[in-house]
Amino acid sequence: MPVFKGDVKRTVVEEIEEIRREIEEMRSRIDRIRETMFSSLEESVQPLYTHYEDEKGYHYLIDVPYANESDVRLTVGEGEILVLITNKQKQRYSLRIRTPRAADTSRISIKRIKWLIHVDIPKG
């Protein structure tokens, strides 16, 4: 099918406009998440936790009553991993973890072992 110069121009302009709209949407979504995160942090308490390191990675055991792994939200930020937990009683807990140097933050896993939330940060 023949394509004329004018049509190409219009298509590109429309695509750019669409990308701009998507960026705007993403930006406002990030703002909303950030707002929620900060308000969660303000109302939250630090949970009981312990941590250890082995050859595989860094392991955080967090004790939040009435919570399981689906109640955990994890945010990887600049040099910091933020763990937010809202338990079944709507109590909020937050734990800031300084990202270890050797951590591979793309493979963080969360699971519940017995009554504890286990955040596992593998080494890269």
């Binding site: 009981l48 936790y49 312990t50 250890y52 055991l61 004790d63 009553p65 009435y66 072992i113 017995k114 009554w115 504890l116 286990h118």
Partner: protein, 250 residues
């Protein structure tokens, strides 16, 4: 109320229990996994024990526990037919722990207790991989050790160390002739471990000859952990001052 002074402490007794023989005194001082505290509190409640004394420490920073609007010392003693239980709902600094463990032997001597039973946790790195943590015994003397070696469900601790208040009770018991049995269960170090407490309760129930249903503790474990969060925080802060951050280690 009868007030007895012991070092900087005061034992405030509302009544003087008359215990049947053989008699036992269970001691719960917050340390590894809060095993002793959780187990002793549960035994107090499930055996319907009656409060008879409070331990006051006027020279130390004040902390008062409020129960149903009534102020109480966080260290209190209870009794039932042949058992006394002394439990601390507050972490003890080394000086206070030293004095409280001395007072334990004074109470045991006063009420002619046959065996003092201390409950604690021994932190193990693979704790979360264990379906059921193991319990171990430590004895103050040869006769009790021989008696315990015949018990199947609990093993001898073997070689290791015990530091902090339970060590003092062990040594004092040698001096006073009152038997001391330490029950230590594999546990977490700095997180509450109700599962380890259940193991301790089940053994102690059999040892002292009472039936204790631990299903309520299993059901209410989430609530208990929620309630004792602050106690665990306090205990974590105090534990390093006893030595290596734990009271029993192999």
């Amino acid at each position: 109320m009868k007030v007895t002074k012991f070092l900087d402490l005061e034992l405030l007794e509302l009544e003087e229990p008359n215990l049947r023989r053989p008699s036992y005194m269970i001691v719960g001082i917050p340390d590894a996994g809060l095993v002793g505290e959780i187990a002793t509190e549960y035994l107090i409640n499930s055996l319907g024990m009656r409060e008879f004394a409070e331990v006051s420490y006027p020279n130390s920073p004040y902390l008062v526990q409020v129960i149903n609007g009534v102020a109480k010392s966080p260290i209190r003693a209870f009794y039932s037919s042949n058992v006394i239980a002394l439990n601390s709902w507050s972490a003890l600094n080394p000086d206070l722990a030293f004095q409280v463990s001395g007072l334990v032997m004074e109470i045991a001597r006063k009420y002619a207790v046959d065996t003092v039973i201390s409950i604690t946790g021994v932190p193990v790195p693979n704790r979360l991989e264990l379906d059921r943590p193991s319990a171990f015994w430590i004895s103050s003397g040869e006769d009790l050790a021989e008696e315990m070696s015949k018990v199947e469900e609990i093993r001898k601790f073997g070689d290791g160390y015990i530091v902090g208040p339970y060590a003092k009770i062990l040594l004092d018991s040698k001096r006073t002739g009152i038997r001391n049995l330490v029950i230590t269960v594999e546990s977490l170090l700095d997180l509450p471990d109700p599962e380890a407490a259940i193991v301790a309760i089940e053994f102690i129930g059999k040892y002292i000859g009472v039936k204790v249903d631990t299903s309520k503790l299993e059901r209410e474990a989430e609530n208990i952990r929620s309630r004792i969060r602050e106690l665990m925080e306090q205990t974590k802060r105090q534990m390093p001052s006893f030595g290596r951050g734990t009271t029993t280690y192999a």
